[in-house]
Amino acid sequence: MVPVLLWLAIASFGKAAEPALSPTNIFAPASTPANSILGLSLFVLGVTASIFVMVFTLLVYAVVKYRKRTDDDGHEPPQVYGSNQVELAWTVIPVLIVVILFMATARVIAGIQQPSLPAGAIEVIAIGHQYWWEFRYPGLKVVTANELHVPVSDPQHPTPTHIQLLSADTNHSFWVPRLAGKTDLIANHPNSTWIDPHETGLYLGQCAQYCGTQHAKMLLRVYVQSRDEFDRWIQAQSQPAQRSDAVSRGRQVFEATACINCHAVAGTVANGRFGPDLTHLMSRDTIASGAAPNTPENLRIWIRQPDAIKPGSKMPAMELTEQDISAVTAYLGTLR
């Protein structure tokens, strides 16, 4: 316990832009909800650590002081049956501590759960699937997967992001520790959360509610960009898919197999919704919900044998020939 307490003391100073211990350290917040949780956490940690030190000292003292001595006279010690004053004291003092902790907590709950977000807030719908994330920007006509892009929020002109949380199947939980606490995505039970990242950069997280076989590889990446960069990204993502005749063979294979039952490519016949939208697949850094970097080799492996990257994923191996896999990989490589 003691090394852990010491570590906590050190960790709570890790507020730098690049957190030292972990990219998912809850003690390195970069957004208002995570920041106000940190403030409350440190207060609660302080109170509980003081209680620990006090009771632990009493316990060690009692065990050492009242151990049976080697020169014990064999008599029973004086029998004490209780003391109303003492017991009243250790009832009333904890009650006061609880009241204080409760009031501090209630304030932060209200602050985070009843925010007044400005009119310029970005709206995003996040939909949890087994085992990937769908992100839709209503009004901006953008649909993407696994990699959420949001603008940085300048405290002078805040542009927070309000995220509506839905589930297409089992329960999931949206957790990017440096931005906010987690909120579950539950079918028939719409939830929401909000973030206002103060610094640009990549923030990592992952699904935090057991959702099935590949819960572990339902990873989550949030790209916080400057407003200009974000607007350019939105502009690029709202275009239909690029069409290149050089890969028409791959497109034919893609559109003639069951790929299109699950995947959509805007502007083509592919409009499935079970799997991620592939219109701008090449603009993403990872595939398989963060399980592998988005390289042509990984894409080949993923199409040939999804279980090699993510055993138990819902994407089936399509049993394509090697030539067809190459053609489809080449086609997907043009979806920028």
């Binding site: 852990v4 620990f52 209780g82 017991e87 709950i109 606490g181 539950i186 819960h215």
Partner: protein
């Protein structure tokens, strides 16, 4: 000695009875002591199985991207580990000790309903067998996996036919349902026994704390297990009769299952920990050589904990999107539990204060319980603060927290109970040196595994993941946690070896090896059939103290 007096003279038994006879004697028994021992042995077998499952998980998590087991196997392991440890290890253990000791401590000759007692045991036993039979019988028509893999709280809609094909979830449902019926039977039996069969002079206010705490526990079992049983029936209706209680694809509610499960699940924690309180409330006074400090307040605090524990369940659901008002209410009710719990810790401390502490293996485990239960309570306060919980919930911090409660608290208290009452149950002393070695190894292993497990939670590691990404700062903490398993396993093996060795080779215990004060120590070890030749009469909470100290009996002060 007492058995010698009871045996008719001049008749010598014609050698040991045949094995089949003895086996039949155990299987058909309605004797509370034999049933108690059967509960305990049954639970020890499952403790080993659950421990192996935990070890498999820890090996898988020793380094990132490990390939020791597949995700499917890992998910089955954590489901089976949780279900086994809660329903088929700790519950049978606490029922076993209560069964064995309650009639002895209140001066009764058996439980109120001996046949119900046997029925309850066999239901529980059948439940455990059903759960593990899934590994053979659950393949189903689709070749879907075998053992259940939905997690021990089996959140809907993962349990619906859509997401859980085959029969693995059905085996889980039926195992929990069947053992739940056994638990309810035992609870009814204990409440009746305590209320109706106390010996003359033993008013409610003169019962040992052990009896009080088991009374409270039994009340909680009735209140908590019933909704769980109802929920399992509803789930089965969903799966087989076209119901839509929890089936979100047809308009059902996943959150409804959560409420059902946790209104069982949280009181369940107290069903398990209140008997642990009972053990340390007997062990600490005897080995501090003092009466329990503040008996009436201890009773009141126990009842208060049970009462408040019925209104805190949704603190398991802070992240499911309840309104801020609901969240605030459950913060308050949860934090309120800290008050009576704190009173209990302080009263145990005050019992040791001014005493003469004997560091037997039993006492060491009780002191370990106090220390670890304190920390578990404090991390519990952190988790009760809803915003902090939004970060900590469902992370490894929670896993560390509840293992601190269940292993560091409850299991340490159970080991304490083993070392304390083994002489009574077997008539033989447990080997103290091995007991202390067990304590040291298990304490080292426990702290290595679970102290360090808090940290990856704070660094964003969610629970129930079969593997994790490198570069998140989680590697070292997981490595240390896994190393701790080696020490824990060594400790448990020494414990098992100690029980066996002491049973066959231990020195005779006599009726009262600890110089203790409650009624079970006034009869022989092991107690004869029907416990007492004549029903005792008591005048205080420590009747055997009164016998030993006629010049200064307790009843003068109570």
């Amino acid at each position: 000695m007492a058995t010698e007096l009871l045996a008719p003279s001049g008749i010598t038994p014609a050698g040991p009875r045949p094995f089949v006879d003895r086996l039949h004697g155990w299987i058909a028994t309605v004797d509370h002591k034999r049933l108690g021992v059967m509960y305990i042995l049954y639970a020890l077998v499952f403790l080993m199985i659950g421990g192996i499952e935990a070890t498999i998980m820890r090996i898988q998590l020793i380094v990132p991207h490990n390939h020791f087991v597949s995700p499917q196997v890992f998910n089955r392991m954590f489901t089976m580990h949780g279900t086994t440890m809660i329903f088929f290890v700790v519950m049978p253990l606490v029922f076993g000790f209560a069964n064995y000791l309650l009639p002895l401590m209140i001066g009764a000759r058996d439980m109120a309903f001996p046949r119900l007692n046997a029925f309850s045991f066999w239901m529980t036993a059948f439940g455990g067998i059903l759960l593990y039979f899934s590994m053979l019988g659950a393949n189903g028509l689709y070749g879907a996996g075998n053992a259940p893999d939905v997690g021990w709280f089996a959140y809907a809609p993962l349990t619906s036919q859509t997401f859980s094909r085959g029969h693995s979830t059905d085996f889980w449902t039926m195992a929990v349902l069947v053992s739940g019926i056994g638990s309810i039977g035992t609870a009814i039996n204990m409440i009746t026994t305590i209320l109706c069969l106390r010996c003359p002079g033993m008013t409610l206010g003169k019962m040992p704390l052990f009896a009080w705490l088991n009374l409270v526990m039994s009340g909680l079992v009735l209140l908590a297990v019933s909704p769980l049983t109802a929920a399992q029936i509803m789930l089965t209706i969903d799966r087989y009769l076209g119901g839509h209680f929890f089936d979100t694809q047809a308009g059902g509610s996943a959150v409804l299952w959560m409420h059902f499960f946790w209104i069982f699940g949280h009181p369940e924690v107290y069903v398990l920990v209140i008997p642990a309180f009972a053990y340390v409330s007997e062990v600490i006074p005897v080995f501090s050589r003092k009466a329990i400090f503040g008996y009436p307040v201890m009773v009141a605090a126990s009842v208060a904990i049970a009462f408040v524990s019925m209104s805190v369940w949704a603190h398991h659901m802070f992240t499911v999107g309840m309104s801020s008002h609901a969240n605030t209410f459950f913060v308050l009710s949860t934090m309120a539990i800290a008050v009576p719990t704190g009173i209990k810790i302080f009263n145990w401390l005050a019992t040791m204060w001014g005493g003469k502490i004997h560091f037997t293996a039993a006492m060491l485990f009780s002191i370990g319980f106090l220390f670890q239960f304190l920390i578990a309570g404090l991390t519990g306060i952190m988790l009760s603060s809803a915003p902090f919980n939004w970060q900590l919930g469902n992370s490894y911090f929670v896993v560390a927290h509840f293992h601190y409660v269940i292993v560091g608290g409850i299991l340490f208290a159970i080991f304490s109970a083993f070392y304390y009452w083994f002489p009574k149950m077997s008539g033989k002393m447990c080997n103290e040196a091995l007991g202390k070695l067990h304590f040291v190894l298990f304490a080292i292993g426990f702290h290595l595994t679970f102290d360090f497990m808090h940290v990856p939670g704070l660094l964003g590691m969610p629970r129930r993941i079969y593997t994790y990404e490198p570069g998140r700062g989680w590697d070292m903490w997981n490595l240390v946690s896994t190393i701790g398993v080696v020490f824990q396993a060594a400790g448990v093996l020494i414990f098992a070896g100690n029980l066996l060795w002491s049973y066959f080779k231990g020195k005779s215990a006599g009726s009262d090896p600890w110089d203790a004060w409650t009624l079970e120590w006034s009869t022989s070890s092991p107690p004869p059939a029907y416990n007492f030749a004549s029903i005792p009469t008591v005048r205080s909470r420590r009747p055997v103290w009164d016998l030993k100290h006629p010049e200064d009996p307790d009843w003068r002060y109570e």
